[in-house]
């Protein structure tokens, strides 16, 4: 038993180092670092490059990796991205850090190369020394994890409690504005925090490498497990995060003593333990009303924070609904282009385009839940997976018509989304993101990997309809489904329910006193988004002609979200564009560019999400506005004397800025 406990403490120590880093960066910058796993991978991979590929001995390699490379990486990420995020909305913060988690590992692979064998040494010399205290076994790698945590705690507490730097960090946690007023540069303090955080990420990555290898997946799972400890600490309490991390590690290893190693279920339960921890704590905090949005900074920070700084400005006046308005013409052109693709592409490219359209259907669920509802759900891909599995079971195993199986199968997924919506109704944005990601990981671990659904990764056969067997016809079927669902979403947006949904999104208090039911609205958008995701999953299965459960991993879902939001989370046409880009871009790189460049599409997807820090509305909204402004300038240049008198609409792009100021009472006369 003692061996299990000691092994658990080792695992828990790594979780604790990761959790410490996540807590410190969150409280000091308001950013929950979804890129932690990617940063851990980058530093661990650099250490491996020095130590194993270039023959550096352990300590010089560790010193350069942890004390030079990692701080530089943290500082660079802060300078390029994190410093722009502090005042952004939760969804932009989350998606931008997801962008780093997507782009950084691929960038590292591009520079340092792919590893065929990910097994890696840690900080201990090989062959590994093993000790036997009290008849238990502890190896040197485990000893280093204990020492690593101890060093982190002693140094961290000493710096935070007893140094001038620590005082500044604590001041920054309380109020960035007051810190700045007292003569300390918050940027420099934040830069230091992010540099230190990258070193902690690197330490966790190097310590984890002997167990999971230098792999992005291993580091990402480490991060996801550490999330549980951070949630238990309500994102803020360092001692609680460390305590829960250690407990989680011990439970994870001790429970293996009682599980039958030959039972496949054991292999699914063990990695699920941190997520079970997270769900328990979240439910506890939700019931106690302790998991709302936590306000960052002090009163002065809140007072000077610009409201709605990255609020998408969507004009939905009835006056702009003509058939020739940009909001109508743009989507029509996009759909027409998508419709032309199967006509001009060969079978291979048409297949890719069809897959992109199917993905576009699934992405519409994010348009609903995040774009319209303002809820950051990270498990839409899981609903898509449920839809794929159910549709494939109904069509492949029970002989239903495939399209009927998709439409009906998706109905059975809706209650899951509704229940999740109800459970998360009292949670803050970040907690909702975490609980939905956890749900996705649990479902992926415990359900998707079970036979008969899994079937060695192939899933269940999903036949296409006989009349739509070829890629061209199937692409048109998928496009028709996309257009129908997109029109339904546009109808929802313009409806009274759309207005009410928007109201609930921005002010639950205002909505309740107006007579709106917050629960009804959230259940409505949860149910609709779940249904659309499940239909999208069914179409993806139809495209692959199998349910392929592995393709619905929540971490892939993060890339889906990153691609969509970087193009535009509120635009239905963005879902189609994102789907096509996601499907076609890797094909273009694979077909026309050297194989070494295969990482570039993923890097571009990540960079797109990172760009959200500068342009929170997404590429489509930004480009649409720039094109509209250009058209207005050209029109005004051609007929300056024919300018209409002010229409009274200050949001009208046709009204020049000077006129807008005159129209706003209190503006320039």
């Amino acid at each position: 038993m003692l061996s299990y406990v000691l092994a658990g403490l080792s695992l828990g120590a790594i979780y604790a180092i990761a959790a410490s880093s996540l807590v410190v960066t969150y409280v000091s910058s308001g950013i929950f670092n979804f890129a932690f796993g990617a940063m851990a991978f980058a530093v661990a991979r650099f250490y491996y490059w020095l130590n194993s590929q270039h023959g550096w001995s352990i300590w010089p390699a560790a010193a350069v990796s942890l004390l030079v490379f990692a701080p530089l990486l943290g500082a660079a990420l802060y300078g390029l991205l994190f410093r722009h995020l502090r005042l952004r909305s939760p969804v932009v913060k989350i998606v931008a850090t997801i962008g780093v988690s997507v782009a950084l590992p691929e960038l590292v692979k591009l520079i340092l190369g792919d590893l065929a064998d990910a097994t890696a040494p840690g900080l201990a010399e090989r062959p590994l020394q093993v000790f036997h205290p009290f008849n238990a076994a502890v190896n040197m790698d485990q000893v280093f994890t204990y020492v690593g945590l101890l060093v982190v705690l002693v140094v961290g507490v000493s710096v935070l409690r007893f140094t001038d730097v620590g005082l500044k960090v604590r001041a920054l946690v309380d109020s960035e504005a007051l810190t700045a007023l007292s003569g300390t540069s918050p940027s420099r303090v934040s830069l230091g925090v992010w540099a230190a955080s990258a070193s902690l990420a690197g330490l966790a990555g190097i310590l984890l490498a002997p167990t999971t290898g230098v792999s992005v997946e291993g580091m990402t799972l480490l991060m996801a497990a550490a999330f549980a400890a951070v949630v238990a600490a309500r994102l803020r309490s360092l001692p609680l995060a460390v305590g829960v991390a250690l407990l989680m590690g011990v439970v994870t290893t001790v429970i293996q003593k009682y599980l039958d190693p030959s039972d496949p279920l054991s292999g699914q339960i063990v990695p699920s333990i941190p997520f079970a921890f997270m769900l328990l704590f979240l439910l506890y905090y939700a019931v106690r009303g302790l998991a709302g949005d936590s306000a960052q900074g002090g009163a002065l920070d809140r007072a000077i924070r610009p409201e709605g700084a990255d609020t998408p400005v969507v004009v939905r006046s009835e006056q702009r609904r003509g058939w020739l308005s940009p909001s109508v013409v743009g989507p029509i052109i996009t759909v027409v282009i998508a419709a032309i693709m199967p006509l001009v592409f060969d079978e291979y490219w048409t297949g890719l385009a069809a897959g992109g359209i199917c993905l576009g259907i699934a992405l519409l669920s994010y348009t609903l839940v995040t774009g319209e509802g303002g809820m950051i759900w990270l498990c839409q891909i899981t609903f898509a997976g449920f839809g794929a599995i159910l549709a494939a079971e109904l069509a492949g195993s029970h002989g239903w018509s495939p399209l009927v199986a998709i439409v009906v199968g998706a109905v059975f997924v809706v209650p899951i989304g509704v229940v999740l919506g109800l459970l998360t109704i009292r949670l803050g944005n970040l907690y909702v993101a975490l609980v939905t990601l956890t749900f996705g990981l649990l479902a992926s671990n415990l359900i998707f990997t079970r036979d008969p659904y899994y079937n060695f990764g192939q899933g269940t056969f999903m036949p296409r309809p006989d009349w739509a067997f070829d890629n061209q016809t199937f692409a048109y079927v998928a496009l028709a489904a996309f257009v129908i669902l997109a029109l339904l979403i546009v109808n929802l947006r313009r409806s009274t329910a759309g207005l009410a949904l928007n109201a609930v999104r921005w002010s639950e208090t205002g909505s309740r006193t107006l007579g709106l039911s917050v629960v009804q609205m959230k259940v409505l958008v949860s149910g609709l988004a779940t249904y659309v995701a499940a239909v999208g999953g069914g179409f993806l299965a139809l495209n692959y002609q199998a349910s392929l459960p592995d393709s619905f991993n929540p971490f892939i879902g993060l890339i889906w979200l990153a691609v969509l939001v970087s193009i535009g989370s509120r635009s239905v046409v963005a879902a189609l564009v994102a789907g096509l880009v996601f499907a076609l871009l890797p094909g273009v790189f694979a077909a026309y560019l050297p194989t070494d460049w295969s990482h570039l599409p993923t890097i571009l997807f990540g960079l797109g999400a990172i760009m959200l820090a500068r342009n929170p509305e997404g590429a489509i909204a930004q480009n649409a506005r720039q094109l509209t402004d250009l058209a207005v300038r050209l029109r005004n240049r051609r007929a300056p004397q024919a300018a209409d008198p002010p229409s009274g609409r200050v949001d009208d792009p046709a009204v020049p800025a000077t006129e807008k100021e005159q129209l706003i009472p209190g503006g320039r006369a």
């Binding site: 610009p306 409201e307 709605g308 609020t311 998408p312 400005v313 969507v314 004009v315 939905r316 006046s317 009835e318 006056q319 609904r321 546009v490 109808n491 929802l492 313009r494 409806s495 009274t496 329910a497 759309g498 207005l499 009410a500 928007n502 109201a503 999104r505 921005w506 002010s507 208090t509 205002g510 909505s511 309740r512 006193t513 107006l514 007579g515 709106l516 039911s517 009804q520 009274g648 609409r649 200050v650 949001d651 009208d652 129209l663 706003i664 009472p665 209190g666």
Partner: protein
């Protein structure tokens, strides 16, 4: 500022909304202690007091956002203490907030449209999804009512502008417009003149008096502008540290020594000197 207004006089004795012995504790802090307050139809009641007196807390209790530690709230004689804000809104209660609670993704006009529909066509929340009515031009009665309110509050120039980034004064007017669009029988306004200049405050006061006269609305007003409160209210209640220290017609409150000493003294004296 001088606010000379004709007070509506169509008062009846039965109150639309009443607080009976309301006490509200937050841990060891007593925010309200045994507060009684009633607002009859077609009446404007003012609620004044220094910062931290408990005015907004009482608004929270009366609108259903806070449940009192003891005491109860009634509307039209029915106990609504345990009814949700939505239920009270359905009974005709509307309110504004000290810090405007606007819907940043909606335009000014959409705020009023939504409020109007919540009151007059609530089933549209569901039926629009099937009928596609949201894609069509709104019905004439809705347009007429919304246009009228936009004009009365001088919001017609910015009706299609998203509310995110509006100045405070305009945000308050949008909130007031949204509250009026539900055709309330009881209206709770929390510092409605904050952020407005003198002219805008006078126009707002005239609009509110008009609404009370024309529709018999019961208006409860929290306001720091003493002239405005004393000029347009039938009755004024004064809170201090959660305790009601005075109530009565403005003239009585103006003359109340306790009030003058505790809160209003300097401002009233200044007002008298300037007059």
């Amino acid at each position: 500022m001088s606010t000379a207004l004709n007070r509506p006089d169509a008062r009846t004795t039965e109150s639309r909304i009443e607080a009976h012995g309301v006490t509200m504790r937050f841990g060891g802090l007593v925010a309200l202690s045994e507060v009684d307050l009633a607002v009859p139809p077609a009446t404007i009641v003012g609620l004044v007091g220094p910062n931290g007196a408990g005015k907004s807390t009482l608004f929270g209790v009366m609108s259903g956002l806070l449940r009192p530690t003891s005491g109860h709230v009634s509307m039209n004689g029915d106990d609504v203490t345990h009814r949700s804000p939505q239920k009270r809104a359905a009974l005709g209660l509307a309110r504004t907030f000290q810090h405007p609670e606007l819907f940043s993704g909606l335009t000014v006009r959409e705020h009023l449209m939504l409020a109007y529909r919540v009151r007059h066509a609530k089933s549209r929340i569901w039926t629009d999804l099937v009928t596609g009515r949201g894609l069509r031009r709104p019905p004439a009665d809705e347009r007429e009512r919304v246009d009228g309110l936009l004009e009365a509050l001088h919001l017609d120039q910015i009706q299609h502008r998203p509310v995110a980034g509006l100045p405070l004064g305009m945000s308050r007017l949008v909130e007031i417009g949204r509250a009026l669009a539900v055709d309330p029988t009881v209206l709770l306004l929390d510092e409605p003149s904050s952020g407005l200049d003198t002219r805008e405050t006078e126009e707002l006061a005239r609009t509110l008096v008009q609404v009370v006269e024309d529709h018999g609305v019961s208006l409860l007003l929290v306001e720091h502008d003493v002239d405005l409160v004393l000029g347009m209210c039938h009755e004024v209640h004064v809170l201090d540290f959660g305790v009601k220290i005075a109530a009565g017609p403005p003239e009585e409150v103006r003359a109340n020594a306790a009030v003058r000493a505790a809160y209003l003294g300097e401002e009233i004296e200044q007002g008298e000197h300037s007059a």
